[in-house]
């Protein structure tokens, strides 16, 4: 993880909502289409990439999220070493996938900021700045969606009921956090 200053300075708490940044987390972007691609990944990380749209799958160490029919994001479930910028799984997949031209593996750990939102008001906050219909999403643990929140591209992963991981690009994170804080203060 690079030595950066996070724009999210403190954890916030509101009635029915607590907000914190979780870092550092490893994030990998995988792209590929072929059956070989899917089976190679399955063999090497002991986890089958979700084929069904808007879903995710988890192992004890990693969670993989469906982004598109040929795109996935793998994140580490736990915080990783702060001083280290090399990940075993990235090296392994890079050798097995990228070098054999099965697909591509990109490290996006520093590209995305992970903001964790927890509490019963989570979906009230999201619905106030997002046109996505959360009715089914909020019932379904492990659901994933990419959408716009306050005109900012985000990826939402429904980790536990009323506990979501929100991925936002780093340069938008400060703006999005101030929007969330503003919206939360008026819940």
């Amino acid at each position: 993880m690079l030595n950066y200053k996070s724009s999210i300075i403190e954890d916030k708490k509101y009635s029915g909502l607590s907000i914190k940044e979780i870092s550092p987390i490893m994030k990998l972007n995988l792209r590929g289409k072929s059956r070989d691609f899917l089976s190679t990944i399955g063999k090497n990380i002991n986890m089958i990439l979700p084929i069904e749209a808007n879903t995710s799958s988890s192992s004890d160490k990693y969670t993989s999220m469906w982004l598109s029919p040929d795109e996935w994001m793998i994140i580490s479930n736990n915080i990783i070493d702060k001083e280290n910028n090399n990940y075993e799984i990235e090296e392994l997949l890079f050798n097995k996938i990228s070098k054999t031209n099965l697909g591509s593996v990109t490290d996006v750990s520093d590209q995305f900021v992970l903001i964790n939102l927890e509490g019963e008001s989570v979906f009230d906050i999201l619905s106030s700045g997002c046109a996505f219909n959360f009715n089914e999403f909020m019932q379904k643990k492990g659901a994933v969606t990419q959408t716009l929140l306050a005109q900012v591209d985000i990826i939402i992963h429904h980790k536990e009921i009323n506990n979501i991981n929100l991925f936002v690009r780093r340069s938008f994170s400060e703006h999005l956090m101030s929007w969330i804080n503003d919206a939360a203060s008026r819940l």
């Binding site: 749209a53 808007n54 598109s68 795109e71 046109a131 990419q146 959408t147 591209d153």
Partner: protein, 91 residues
């Protein structure tokens, strides 16, 4: 605002999509043999009809996949959505 049923992600709001112009325009097999007028016809000339139009759309803020849509431009009614590479319906 209207809802678009992305063939990959399901029903989403229009704000997540970008329109990509007219669909099913084929690149001429031998561009060098065309006159400038014919080339300009292929390159720039697009239908802009009031009524049923074949269009390409991109789910830009979702799965980033392209697909085809048959839309009535007068009332934004979506007649049909089908994936890229599929044959357009003949009505």
């Amino acid at each position: 605002m209207f809802l678009i049923n992305c063939p990959f992600c399901g029903e989403r709001d229009q704000s997540e999509f970008k329109a990509g112009g007219e669909a099913h325009i084929e690149r001429p097999k031998q561009p060098t043999e065309l006159s400038d007028d014919q080339w300009a016809e292929y390159l720039f000339m697009r239908k802009n009809i009031k009524g049923v139009q074949f269009e390409r759309w991109n789910h830009a803020h979702g799965c980033r996949k392209w697909f085809n849509m048959v839309r009535d431009t007068s009332n934004d009614e979506i007649k049909l959505i089908y994936k890229m590479g599929e044959k357009p319906p003949t009505e």
